[in-house]
Symmetry: C2
Subunit: 190 residues, 2 copies
């Protein structure tokens, strides 16, 4: 059994929390008023919007040392919906990993809409959580939690692939905003 801390109690935080619990693992969900409570999970999922990561790290970087830290963000410019806010040759996950050298940073869930985490499907396909990272054990631990919760986990490669995962997440958001795919849908993997 793995203890999981989720920072951010919005749609994604809640949906992932339910998956963790469904799989028989334990979960603590932090909202913005829980700043003084330390995270105790072996796995810490950052489920706040990307701009809030800076404050989370200011408050908790030391608590994250040695832990698996899961970045689910899509670092969009939400004013223009036309670009990401990270460098073209980088990713939010790479920036986070640089700031947390003592953590095992994994990218996951950013290509999943909250409704598909909750429902377990994307149209007729099962919801697939794509996981990228440089630490095989960290990825396997998260994949086990995801699978136990009833979703499909797929290893998408090294943390370098976070760049492509963030491109998928970005594109998917523009398609949903443009009503080309429902918020209960998006990309599924056959």
């Amino acid at each position: 059994m793995t203890h999981v801390s989720i920072i951010g109690s919005g749609n994604m935080g809640q949906a992932i929390s339910a998956i963790v619990a469904k799989g028989g693992n334990t979960v603590e969900l932090f909202n913005s008023t829980d700043k003084d409570k330390a995270v105790t999970g072996e796995v810490v999922i950052l489920a706040t919007p990307y701009p809030a990561y800076e404050q989370v790290l200011a408050d908790r970087a030391d608590q994250l040392a040695g832990k698996v830290v899961v970045d689910i963000s899509n670092p969009l410019n939400f004013e223009t919906f036309d670009s990401l806010t990270v460098p073209a040759d980088g990713s939010a996950a790479a920036e986070l990993a640089a700031k947390l050298p003592d953590s095992k940073v994994v990218k996951a869930f950013n290509t999943n809409f909250a409704a598909t985490v909750a429902s377990g499907n994307v149209g007729e396909l099962p919801t697939t959580v794509l996981i990228a990272g440089d630490d095989a054990d960290a990825k396997a631990l998260l994949a086990g939690i995801v699978s136990a919760g009833g979703l499909r986990a797929v290893d998408a490669g090294s943390l370098k692939r976070a760049r492509e995962l963030e491109a998928v997440g970005f594109l998917q958001l523009t398609l949903a905003v443009g009503e080309k795919t429902p918020w209960t849908g998006g990309f599924g993997l056959a």
Copy 2:
């Protein structure tokens, strides 16, 4: 009725050719021995590997003026399978558009495996052709050809979005090579 020229008679060229014909449009398929025959289609689909585009343009750039030119490429480094060969802030489509200022360049089909163009489905989802470009008429013309042929066409935005489409195509290829998704599958859009 639209006349379509397809340069490249591999799996993708053949599959797209069948879709065009199925929709009641006319198609001419060029292979590598047809270099001296001019393209006559209003729409020209480049269905060669990306490295061969240079030769196609050397042979035919003047023939492509005024036409809708469809870039279906995934400009991967096929030795490492770890990066694209185009700049991080660009795309193959953007490079092509710069070289063909008198053509209307559209990105499409690069997120579809040939088998899904032929079958019409990605697992239980219909095959979706994502189309990006800056010329609305060119996108609508291609979307009409795709829809008439029985596939779903979705406008993915401006040609700037080709960068994200190429990231999707790249990621999808790495997942297939890693046996995380079948060559008859990949990403579907709900």
